[in-house]
């Protein structure tokens, strides 16, 4: 039996976090989870304490990247076989945990991303403009890194020991998901996708605000292109 850890980054999620943790325990009692309270300004910390959740309280706000990496560091220290990123806002559907782990447990792939855009399983597919943005990022990933990912911004992902070790040492900040895919490809990680269902967030806002979307696109594209340049160089050296 593999030791599986669910990493739940939480920033101002006091309303959702208990439900999310309960849903995990109801789904499978053998699953471990760790809530990373990313310096929340509401009473997320209090809720974690009162409900005796398993949590790490970051002493200062780090943003999603730093919070998720803390989870991977924890997974690395406690020697977990598989780590799953799972949002603290109830957006992700717990019933797909087994599905997302299956290929990793079979040793077919190292890293598995839960995608909203394979088949039509997901009820929630985001707004039209955001879908266009995701398509563009996916195309850039395909062109520069030669990796086919339909949902590069998905935060519902699972990785094996190799991935845990890599991410505990290095994880991008700010808007980490697409960038971290390039990082994994650079290190020879095999990536796959499975269709998952995502709900509309119950409360709390997406980390990507509307007025920031242009900056987001430029920032993410630049990161992918720059990272992939070093990729071709290091390949040339070998």
């Amino acid at each position: 039996m593999n030791k599986i850890l669910i990493i739940i980054p939480a920033y101002n999620e006091s309303k959702n976090i208990v439900d999310v943790c309960n849903s995990i325990k109801n789904y499978d009692k053998d699953l471990d989870y760790i809530v990373i309270n990313d310096g929340s300004t509401d009473d997320t910390l209090k809720v974690c304490k009162e409900n005796k959740l398993n949590y790490i309280n970051l002493i200062s706000n780090l943003g999603i990247g730093g919070a998720v990496q803390t989870g991977y560091k924890y997974a690395y220290e406690k020697d977990y076989d598989i780590a799953i990123q799972f949002d603290g806002d109830g957006q992700h559907d717990i019933n797909y945990i087994k599905e997302i782990c299956r290929k990793i447990q079979k040793n077919e792939v190292d890293f598995c991303i839960g995608s909203r855009f394979i088949d039509s399983t997901s009820s929630f597919k985001s707004t039209f403009l955001r879908r266009v943005g995701i398509k563009i990022i996916a195309s850039i990933l395909k062109i520069f890194c030669n990796v086919k990912v339909t949902d590069p911004t998905s935060g519902f992902r699972a990785g094996n020991k190799k991935v845990i070790e890599l991410f505990s040492k290095c994880y991008p900040t700010d808007y980490p998901e697409p960038e971290s895919i390039v990082f994994l490809v650079n290190h020879g990680i095999i990536i796959s996708e499975v269709p998952v269902n995502m709900n509309e967030r119950q409360s709390g806002k997406s980390s990507i605000y509307a007025w920031k979307s242009i900056y987001y696109m430029i920032r993410v594209s630049l990161a992918i292109v720059i990272d992939s340049i070093t990729l071709s160089k290091s390949r040339g050296d070998k």
Binding site: N57, L58, I59, S60, G66, Q69, K73, E77, T173
Partner: protein
């Protein structure tokens, strides 16, 4: 350049050097970063003391006016300084992230041990 202006410029530069050296002594400025500022102070004093120092270099390099050379060099140096500051800030940002993560993990492990002892 009139004698009064020369004396004034040298006095200002000496005050400037004094401020930097005092900051280093009081550990308010790291000695690595002070080297550059002391160096500029010394250059300033030299260029005031030696007549036509700036003009001669400017003629040698082929600038039309000495002021053009001064501005050009100053802008390049400032560009370099801001670039190096950006990279210092980025490095420190990474260090701070790591520090927060490690401290937070240590603190939560510590808390859990406390709870067990209380039981």
């Amino acid at each position: 350049m009139s004698e009064t202006l020369k004396i004034l410029l040298i006095a200002i530069t000496l005050i400037y050097l004094f401020i930097i050296i005092r900051a280093v002594k009081k550990r308010k400025m790291h000695i690595n970063y002070s080297i550059f500022w002391i160096f500029t102070g010394v250059i300033l004093i030299i260029s005031v003391l030696i007549p036509n120092f700036i003009e001669n270099i400017s003629d040698f390099l082929g600038f039309e006016k000495a002021s053009n050379m001064v501005f050009c060099i100053a802008i390049f140096i400032l560009f370099y300084l801001v670039l190096s500051l950006t990279s210092i800030v980025s490095k420190q940002y990474q260090q701070i992230v790591k520090l927060i993560q490690e401290v937070s993990m240590l603190k939560s492990d510590f808390n859990k041990e406390d709870k067990n002892e209380n039981k």
